[in-house]
Structures are given as C-alpha cells and as structure tokens.
C-alpha cells in the first residue's frame, strides 16, 4: 500500500480529481495549504512599494491506495496537474503500513 501526498495548484484540483476518478480512485482528502518552493514566492506592489509574498496558496491532495493503483495515480496527478509553469507542485509517495476502516474494523487493503 502507498500513501500519496501531492501539492498542486489550486486551479488544477478539478482536473486532478476527474483524472483520479477515471482510473478508479474512490476517496481522497483535500486541504488548502500555503507554502513555497525554489522560487520563494513572488513580489507584489501595494501603493508604490514592493513586498514579498512568501507563501503561495496550494492544494494538498492525500490518497491511500494499493501499490498497483498508486503508480497509475501518480501518473494521473502529474498529467492533470501540469501547466508547464513554475509552481506546479510535487508528488510524494510513501509506504503505508496499515489502514483501518473505522466503521467495520477491516484492515489492510480491504480498508482502502
């Protein structure tokens, strides 16, 4: 099992969700987050003075999937989330030790 954490641009969320649904992903957790990467945010001008916006709004999408589906999901996110511009985000994949469905007590892949 894999746990996938992806940070994407907010306006790509709908495309990413659609692409994940298309390959059979059934559940996901989405949160609004802020952060920066190598570009360290950007500058804006307010009343004649420049200022740095250090943290840009991003969307964090978290998925828990079987290893087989995880590989396809990473591809789908990368494809649907891509604009080709800086700030498209990143995808992190980590091994998932266990999962439990709270209602039934099922565990492992059964619970996904």
């Amino acid at each position: 099992m894999k746990y996938i954490i992806s940070i994407i641009k907010p306006h790509r969320l709908e495309e990413v969700r659609t692409a994940l649904s298309a390959i059979g992903v059934e559940g996901m957790t989405v949160s609004e987050v802020k952060g920066h990467g190598r570009q360290k945010g950007h500058t804006e001008i307010y009343r004649g003075a420049e200022y740095e916006v250090s943290y840009l709004p991003k969307i964090k999408v978290e998925l828990a999937l079987s290893s087989k589906l995880a590989a396809k999901a990473v591809e789908a996110i990368a494809e649907a989330g891509r604009t080709g511009q800086i700030g498209d985000g990143k995808i992190f994949v980590i091994d998932l030790e266990n999962a439990v469905r709270i209602r039934t007590g099922e565990s492992g892949e059964e619970a996904l």
């Binding site: 001008i45 009343r47 004649g48 003075a49 200022y51």
Partner: protein
C-alpha cells in the same frame, strides 16, 4: 464664499430683484420667484446637500475599513461613527458660533451654543420679512463639513491609535480649531476681506484635515514593521471591494459638498451654477482616476486599484476650491493633476517614514493645496499671492495647534496602544468585537 455670498444673496432677494440678471447665461430676464419660494428652494438645497455630505461619513468608514488589515476593521468602523457624533455635538456646542457669529473681518467668532428657528416660524431678514433659508438647514449643512475634516484624520492614524485620545482630539478639532480657521473665510473674517477664494473647502475643510493628520502621524509614529530595516513593508488592506464602495459613496457625496456650496437655488442662474458644479466635479474626479491609473501603469507596469481610488478623491479635492468657473477641459486637468500628486506623494511619504494608512495626506492636504492654487486659473477674483497667504495661514495654525494638542494627549493619557495590543489588533484590544470573527486569526501571514 459661503457667508459672504449668503449676505449678497439675501440683499438681492430682499429687493425681489432678478438675481440672474448679471449672469451671462441668463439671456431672457426670468421672472423673479417670491421670497418664500426662494427660501424653500435654498433650504432644500442645504438639506439635500447636507444629507449627501452626511453620507460621506459612510464613504470614509468603508474606505478606511477596506484599507486597514482585518484585525483593525471594527475599530475603524467605531472611530468613524464616533467621530461623526462628536463633531455633530461639538459643532452645536460652540463650533457654529465660533465660525459664523460676530467674526466681522476678524480671527474668531463668539463662544456659545446655537439656536434654531422656533417651531412654526421661519428665519427672517433684517426687515422682518422672510429670510433666505432656514437656520437649522444651514447649521446642518455646515456641520457635515466639519465631520468630513475629522474623518480625514481618522484614516491616516489607523491601526495604532487609542480610541479615546483620538476622540478628544476630534472634539478640539471640530469644536474649536476648524471653526476658528473656518471663520477666517466663510465666517467673513480677515482672509475673506483679503479676497482669499475657496468655494467649497479644498483648504478650509480638506487641507485642515490633512494638516491635523500630518501632525498626528509625526507624533504617533508609524505602524509596527512598516519601515523595519530601512525598507518599506506594505501592510495591504483587508478589502478592496469595501474601499471601492467607500470611494463611490464619497464621490456621490461630493455633489452635495460642492453643488450645495452654491448656497442658493432660488433662481435659474443659481440652479444652473449648481448643475455646472455637478458636471465639473464629476469631470475632475474622472480625470484624477485616469491620471492615477496611467501613471501607475507607466511606473509599476500594473494598475494599483488603491491608487485609482485615491486618484478619484484627489481629483474631487482639487476641484473643490473652484468647481464653478473652470470649463470642462480645465476641470479634467485640475483633477488629473490631483491624481498625479497622489501617485507621486504616496511613496514620497513612505520615504520620509510618515505612515499614512489610507493616503489621506496626499489626497486631502497636497491635492487641497493644489486645488486652492488653481483657483486663479479660472476665477479672476482670485490671485496667487492671496491664495498662498491663505494656504500658509491655515497650515501654520492647524499644524501648530494640532501638534500641541497631540503632544499634550501623548504626555497625559498616551495616544498609542502597546506593541502587544497593536500586534493582536485593535478590534480585540480596544473594541472587544472582531469585524470578522469567523476568520479569527485575520491579519497573520499564514
């Protein structure tokens, strides 16, 4: 122009003469209306103009609410309704009499409260016949002007001043300082005798507010972090939509401010003047916006909406000293120069580390000075020398007295909240009511 014009108008109406006869546009001799009809229309102009200017208090409140951070919005709203009320009472307690009663070419009127016409009666002239307008309508119209002056101070000093010392200053400004300087021109005082011209108050209302704000900003100091490390750190406002709404409300109110400063609507000539003033006022505001937009596009490669809003107000302030005489093109130009002044002066004040949250000093003080200087361009009764004397006199008196009052308040009760309170936000520390409680951590950077 105010009282001086009223006196001449009263004379004309008393003789039931054709007041429009000396105006070039009145080609056919219009039949004179009865003095009572003129009384009704003059009073109506004061009342309509008065409630339009009253609504400018809402404009200032929304503009300031939009340009402060969300942790200080409740405080800004409270300050605005409080200052309007303090001004409304102080201008009755002593303001109106100090400004308009017994000035006689001098420097100050008399210190007393003010009475209105008896119920069921009307104001009379010297001969006992019907006068020119109701007493209370004039008091109300003049009162809403002084409230505008106090609003100007509120915006500059936002986000760090304590509530009660600010309101004490407002009481002195609206009950004593503004009425004394106002008497010099509109009360028929020494500057009126000299021939100083300021139709609706570029200097008398707007610069006076600007000078008082400047003195306050210097003594109060900048907001925490604004000029840290020798750099300017902007503290962007909480709501551009509110600031835009506030600007539109002020623009609307300005038709009362300038239009009703004609002070008479009993003749075709007067009502035509009021209409010309409306047109010029609108043209100048539009000129201010376009100039500010063009200049920010050229300098910063983007259009700063807050500068466009300030540009509208600077255009309006600029045309206020003489909204009647300029032709349409000159009105646009006068307003456009106001817009340029704002775009240049806002970063200049930041260089001097004078923290003016809403840009009130460039808009009301600098554009007010420009508008007053521009009067001789179209009004042959004005000359640059007298205009400069007037500007200097208003500036010296208001800046010095305001500095003394701010200094006394600073030494006695203190005018600034603590560092912790400023970081927490004045909504919590001074008001106890947050403007946006659902977003309780408003203003933090993440």
């Amino acid at each position: 122009m105010k009282l001086y014009q009223k006196i001449t108008l009263a004379g004309v109406l008393g003789l039931a003469a054709i007041a429009g006869a000396d105006v070039a546009q009145a080609q056919d001799a219009a039949p004179a209306v009865s003095p009572e009809t003129a009384y009704i229309f003059n009073t109506l102009l004061f009342l309509i103009g008065g409630f339009l200017v009253m609504f400018m208090a809402a404009g200032f409140a929304m503009l300031e609410a939009g340009l402060v951070r969300s942790k200080n919005v409740s405080m800004q709203c409270l300050k605005n309704i409080a200052l309007y009320s303090v001004a409304g009472i102080m201008f009755w307690v002593c303001g109106y009499s100090l400004m308009y009663t017994g000035v006689d070419g001098g420097y100050i009127g008399t210190f007393s409260t003010y009475g209105f016409d008896e119920v069921g009666k009307f104001a009379t002239g010297d001969d006992g016949a019907v006068g020119s307008y109701s007493t209370a309508s004039d008091w109300f119209f003049q009162m809403v002007f002084v409230a505008a002056t106090a609003s100007i101070v509120s915006g500059t000093l936002a986000e760090r001043i304590k509530l009660w010392p600010f309101l004490l200053f407002t009481a002195v400004l609206t009950g004593i300082m503004y009425p004394i300087t106002g008497s010099w021109k509109w009360g028929g005082g020494w500057l009126n005798e000299m021939g100083f011209q300021d139709f609706a108050g570029s200097t008398i209302v707007h610069s006076v507010g600007g000078w008082a704000a400047l003195a306050g900003a210097l003594i109060l100091g900048a907001r925490l972090g604004k000029y840290e490390g020798g750099k300017v750190h902007p503290l962007p406002g909480s709501s551009i939509p509110l600031a835009t709404l506030g600007t539109f409300i002020l623009w609307l109110g300005w038709f009362g401010f300038n239009g009703a400063s004609q002070l008479a609507m009993g003749t075709a000539a007067d009502v035509t003047s009021v209409s010309n003033i409306f047109a010029n006022t609108n043209l100048a505001a539009a000129g201010g916006v376009i100039a500010a937009m063009a200049l920010t596009q050229i300098i910063y490669k983007k259009v700063d909406v807050t500068m466009a809003l300030n540009g509208a107000l600077a255009g309006l302030v600029s045309i206020t000293a003489e909204p009647l005489q300029p032709g349409p093109f000159l009105a646009i130009l006068i307003g456009a120069v106001g817009g340029v002044i704002v775009v240049v002066a806002v970063p200049l004040l930041d260089k001097l580390k004078i923290d003016d949250v809403v840009g009130a000093i460039p808009v009301h003080l600098f554009a007010g000075i420009w508008g007053t200087l521009a009067v001789p361009l179209s009004n042959s009764d004005a000359n640059f020398g007298t205009q400069i004397v007037g500007i200097a006199a208003y500036g010296a008196f208001t800046f010095v007295v305001a500095s003394i009052v701010w200094f006394i308040l600073k030494m006695t009760m203190g005018i600034r909240v603590s560092k912790e309170e400023e970081m927490m936000g004045l909504d919590k520390s001074e008001v106890g009511v947050e403007a946006y409680p659902e977003f309780a951590r408003g203003g933090s950077s993440i």
